[in-house]
Structure formats: C-alpha cells, structure tokens
C-alpha cells in the first residue's frame, strides 16, 4: 500500500485515492476540428512509460481534490506531488 501525500491532507493510504492516469492531457480546444485519428489519440492513447510518469490522483475518500504526481512506475516511488495547473516539476528518479 503506497502512502500518497495529498497536497492538502498530507500522506494517506493509497486506498483513499482514486487513480486518474496520465496527467496533462487537455480536453481539445475544439473537438469538432479534429480528425478521427486526432480524436482517437485524445480518447485512447496515453503514455505508458517504464520510469517517471506524470499522473493524476484524486483524494476521493478525503478532501476529494484532484492533484498530479510524478511516480516512478518501476519502483512506485512518488517523486513529486503538485497541484492541477502547475507544471510538472523536475525529478530525479
């Protein structure tokens, strides 16, 4: 069970959180302007790296806030936690 530092509530057990996959995938400005390929990319295609990964978590059983984290998917170590809207911090895995 990972200990995830909620930016507001501090470290809490993973069971209190909901995973939201890759971070920084913005809803397209104008979906109708996209080709089917572009729309499919937004809909289904995500980075899936082995290593540091910027991803979203929601403290669903706590303060119910979404935030971003950089986690090393090889070790599951959380390298950084930051709020929605902030840029991804530099991390050294």
């Amino acid at each position: 069970m990972q200990l995830i530092p909620c930016p507001w509530c501090g470290p809490r057990e993973e069971a209190e959180f909901h995973y939201g996959g890759q971070a920084h995938v913005a809803y397209p400005e104008d979906p109708s302007a996209l080709t089917d390929e572009e729309w499919a990319r937004y809909l289904f295609f995500r980075d899936n790296p082995s290593g540091p990964f910027a991803e979203r978590w929601s403290h669903s059983a706590g303060c119910r806030r979404w935030f971003n984290a950089v986690r090393d998917t090889r070790t599951h170590d959380l390298l950084a936690v930051y709020r929605v809207g902030e840029p991804m911090p530099e991390v050294t895995p």
Binding site: C9, G62, C63
Partner: protein
C-alpha cells in the same frame, strides 16, 4: 399534522449504549449541517463572523464558536469546502445567513443535514477501537483535539473529529450508518469481554 423525524441509527440506540463502559457511544441526530463551498478569504471571514466562529484555515482541522445560532462547529472538508454544524432545526436560517455572507463571491451553500448522521465516541479505548479500521495516525501527537479528517473507517467513508482527550466524533453517510454501528459493536466485542475475563490472556 407534523410527522416525527426518525434518525438513521434510532434502532441502534440500545446496542450502542451497551458498549459502555468500553466506549460511550451515542448518535447525535438531527443536527443542522450545511456544506459550504467558498474560497474567497473575505467571504470566508464574513461567513465566520456571521456565525460567530472563524472558519478553519488549516486543512484537517475544525473550529468551534458560538454566536446567533448557539454553538457552531465548522469542519474543514477540503480546500474551499466546509461543513457548518449546529444544533437541530437551524439549517434553514443558517443557510440564509451564510448565503448572505458570501454575497457575490463564488461559492455554494447546501443543506446536507440529513446526508450524514453523527456518532460520538468517548473513552480511553477509543483510539484502539478506531485503529482497527482507520489508517490515520490518531496518536495525540499527530491528531490532537481539533483535528478533523475525512478518511475511511473499514469500508465506509467518515469524517472524524478529535474533540477531546479521548473523545471523537464520527460523521457518516446516512445509508452507511447501520454498517458503521455494526462495525463499532463488533470491534468492541473483544474489549467488552476483556472487562470480564482476566487481563493479559491475549496479546496487545
């Protein structure tokens, strides 16, 4: 004709009372509860002064105070999200006052009085009982009185307030209240029995 209200745990009154002396547990039903969403500091301050209690500015805490609606607690539920709790029957009046205080600031006020019910737990074993299902560190050094966390207790979400040395308040969604009561009673089984059997027969 006016209908009598029924609280989610009314059928559990005796069952919970029977947990004494291990734990003093009782439902405190029908409290006025309002979910307030607001981030603007001025509006927050205005709401606080209208109720006679400053809203908590530290995450995972609650504040208490007294004002036109008597004793009022404000619980931090999340950034810009608070639960205002007062005695029974005040929800409509408080909603109005808070809405006025927020003025044009972004925010919302919702009467959620019956959404959750309140269970008060007291006694020296309260931390032990809760530690069977709550992963938050409740040691006084990390959860002093005034702490208020939203977390899980076994398989239900709760809002947990540390109200005194060995006193906690749990707010639980009404539909989960029966589960919570059953869980607490079950968690106390061993402690209740330890009251009658010789101590030290089992480990910590």
């Amino acid at each position: 004709m006016t209908a009598d209200p029924t609280s989610p745990l009314h059928a559990w009154t005796d069952g919970l009372a029977a947990l004494a002396p291990v734990l003093a547990v009782a439902e405190r039903p029908f409290r006025s509860q309002l979910t307030v969403r607001v981030s603007d500091p001025e509006a927050i301050a205005a709401a606080g002064s209208a109720l006679g209690v400053p809203f908590p500015s530290t995450p995972c805490t609650f504040t208490t105070g007294s004002g036109p609606f008597g004793d009022v607690e404000v619980l931090w539920l999340g950034p810009g999200e608070f639960l205002v709790v007062a005695g029974p029957g005040l929800q409509i009046a408080i909603e109005e006052v808070v809405r006025d205080a927020l003025g044009t600031a972004r925010g919302s006020v919702v009467d959620t009085s019956a959404q959750r019910t309140t269970v008060v737990l007291e006694g020296p074993l309260v931390r032990d009982v809760l530690a069977h299902g709550c992963s938050v560190d409740l040691h006084p050094s990390s959860a002093p009185a005034g702490t208020c966390v939203q977390t899980l207790l076994a398989r239900t979400g709760i809002v947990l307030q540390v109200t005194g040395e060995d006193a906690f308040t749990v707010l639980v969604r009404s539909s989960f209240a029966g589960y919570l009561a059953a869980w607490i009673c079950d968690a106390c089984v061993e402690y209740l029995a330890a009251e009658v059997t010789a101590p030290g027969t089992v480990g910590a």
